[in-house]
């Protein structure tokens, strides 16, 4: 009987500890703004799940930064621009993916520069592993420009795998509403 009581007492202590750990664990606000679902449960061909995080500095990055390919090996991501306090009237983005094991199927304009931006250059060289897209807004540029997708890239990689997009070398150059170069950070900002 004494042994049973001792075990019950120990179990009570353990239960109290468990309760305390659950109550004083990290708050939801401390959790990453990234999707918290494990990669293995991400829907196939994931697109931008939410608005990407904002930044006070003009930044360029892939969003999402990790994607899972579908059974055909395809996946899509955006080249996202946080414009900060700048107006963005145009820019050039280069992908260097020669060692990534992926090819680029499409590299198209996003919505950052309006519905029908000018395409000054749009090259995909899957032999050399390099793609370039140069775009300009038609007409006047609002400053600051709301953040948005500069371009969408469709990749072809191994089927049903997770691709870490920073492994695709991203470099970007942006120009402001006065046609001056924007001091970007992120990727390999030029």
């Amino acid at each position: 009987m004494t042994r049973v009581l001792n075990r019950l007492w120990m179990l009570s202590v353990v239960a109290v500890l468990a309760l305390a750990a659950a109550c004083f664990g990290p708050d939801e606000t401390d959790i990453a703004p990234q999707p918290t679902i494990p990669a293995s449960t991400l829907p196939v061909n994931t697109t931008v799940p939410d608005s990407p995080p904002t930044s006070s500095h003009p930044t360029v990055f892939f969003w999402p930064d990790e994607i899972r390919t579908d059974s055909n090996g395809e996946a899509k991501a955006d080249v996202w621009v946080n414009a900060g306090s700048f107006g963005i009237s145009g820019g050039e983005v280069t992908l260097d993916y020669s060692n990534s094991g992926c090819t680029v199927q499409a590299f198209t304009a996003g919505t950052l520069l309006g519905d029908h931006p000018l395409v000054g250059q749009g090259n995909i060289d899957n032999n050399g592993g390099r793609a370039l897209l140069a775009l300009a807004r038609v007409g006047a540029t609002q400053s600051p420009t709301p953040s948005g997708s500069f371009a969408s890239v469709t990749l072809s990689c191994e089927p049903n795998t997770t691709v870490s997009l920073p492994s695709l070398g991203l470099s970007a150059l942006m120009v402001d509403h006065q046609f001056e170069k924007v001091p970007l950070t992120g990727g390999s900002a030029g």
């Binding site: 750990a21 659950a22 990290p26 990453a32 930044t59 050039e92 250059q121 007409g139 920073p166 046609f179």
Partner: protein, 347 residues
């Protein structure tokens, strides 16, 4: 016997619950470190040994690592919370309040990068190809101070090379000078599309590790190329590219040095006061005209011309000066943006 089995089952359940709770806590807090290694250069030269490099994200500062043989290794960026996610990482040498030109964005996922860091030269910090000897384990940097202002001048650097103006070989007789801050070299004169013996010999080592620019004072234009002054003695080929001269038919001929032989001599007879004429402080550039083909409309034909010349520089065969709307010697995204601003989609 039955109560014992029940207690065992209860114990296993509680332990399983505890494991689940703690593993979920760990998952929610997971930020992985990013690790950087790479070369470090100061003023264009490898950094001396023993300098501390740190990374910063807003108020977070990483542990420092020391430079050795012009490199840093295993700079671990691991901020305490996810609040630093997607914020800018900057790299510093705190002892000298220097910040590297390069930055990155903290993505909070495990990654290891080779990242070269470049810092501007600063007085009091040696930056040379010969690293300061010293044990890498000591945290105290021992920078070798640069000679103070007023020290004897460094040996000269003599430049020579081809000169291109608006994509064409420069005409004979153009006077070219080099400038580093307020220093201006003795002139050299173009001949057969080139220049010789442009001697850069400032009077003080304060000009070391500063940018050298090249000018045609008569037209107030500056070459696109610049170079850091690292001191001599040295003789370097350095080709110069100038934009279109503001006035293609200047009424006064560009000032020539009276005797070419004097100009080519090591000590030109022309005095500084006669050759260093005051030049306008700004480069004169033609007004941008997005109507590249001059048909009165900015449309897809202009876009086609610009696209054909895209990514070319003034010395490239496909360079089209008309598409270089900001006259900076290259056709790029800035010219495209200027075209877009005036683009008429209806035509």
């Amino acid at each position: 016997m039955r109560p014992k089995a029940g207690l065992t089952f209860l114990t296993i359940t509680i332990v399983a619950a505890l494991v689940a709770v703690f593993s979920s806590v760990a998952f929610a807090q997971s930020i992985s470190p990013t690790i950087y290694s790479g070369s470090v250069s100061i003023g264009g030269n490898p950094a001396p040994d023993g300098l501390t490099i740190v990374a910063r994200i807003n108020d977070y500062e990483s542990d420092g690592v020391l430079t050795k043989n012009g490199r840093y290794r295993f700079l671990i960026v691991f901020p305490p919370t996810i609040d630093y996610f997607i914020e800018t990482i900057t790299f510093h040498i705190p002892e000298h309040a220097l910040q590297a030109k390069e930055t990155d964005v903290f993505r909070g996922s495990t990654a290891q990068f080779e990242k070269a860091l470049t810092f501007l030269a600063v007085e009091g910090l040696a930056s040379g190809p010969t690293p300061t000897p010293g044990p890498a384990a000591t945290a105290t940097p021992t920078p070798v101070p640069t000679p103070p202002v007023g020290q004897p001048s460094t040996p000269p650097v003599v430049y020579f090379g081809n000169v291109t103006v608006n994509g064409q070989p420069a005409p004979d007789g153009l006077i070219i000078v080099a400038r580093i801050g307020d220093y201006e070299s003795e002139p050299a004169v173009t001949s057969n599309g080139s220049y010789t013996r442009l001697e850069v010999n400032p009077s003080s080592s304060v000009y070391l590790f500063k940018g050298t620019t090249f000018h045609i004072p008569a037209y107030g234009v500056q070459a696109f190329e610049t170079v850091l002054f690292l001191g001599g003695p040295a003789e370097r080929q350095f080709d110069l590219t100038f934009p279109v001269l503001p006035d293609p038919t200047p009424t006064p001929e560009p000032t020539k040095i009276p005797e070419p032989t004097a100009a080519l001599a090591p000590a030109p007879t022309v005095t500084a006061t006669t050759t260093r004429e005051p030049s306008p402080p700004t480069i004169v550039r033609p007004a941008p005209t997005p109507d590249i083909n001059g048909d009165g409309s900015v449309n897809n034909r202009d876009l086609a011309l610009l696209s054909a010349a895209y990514s070319t520089r003034s010395d490239d065969r496909n360079y089209d000066r008309r598409a270089d709307l900001n006259s900076d010697g290259q056709v790029d995204y800035r010219d495209l943006a200027m075209l877009g601003a005036k683009y008429d989609q209806s035509s």
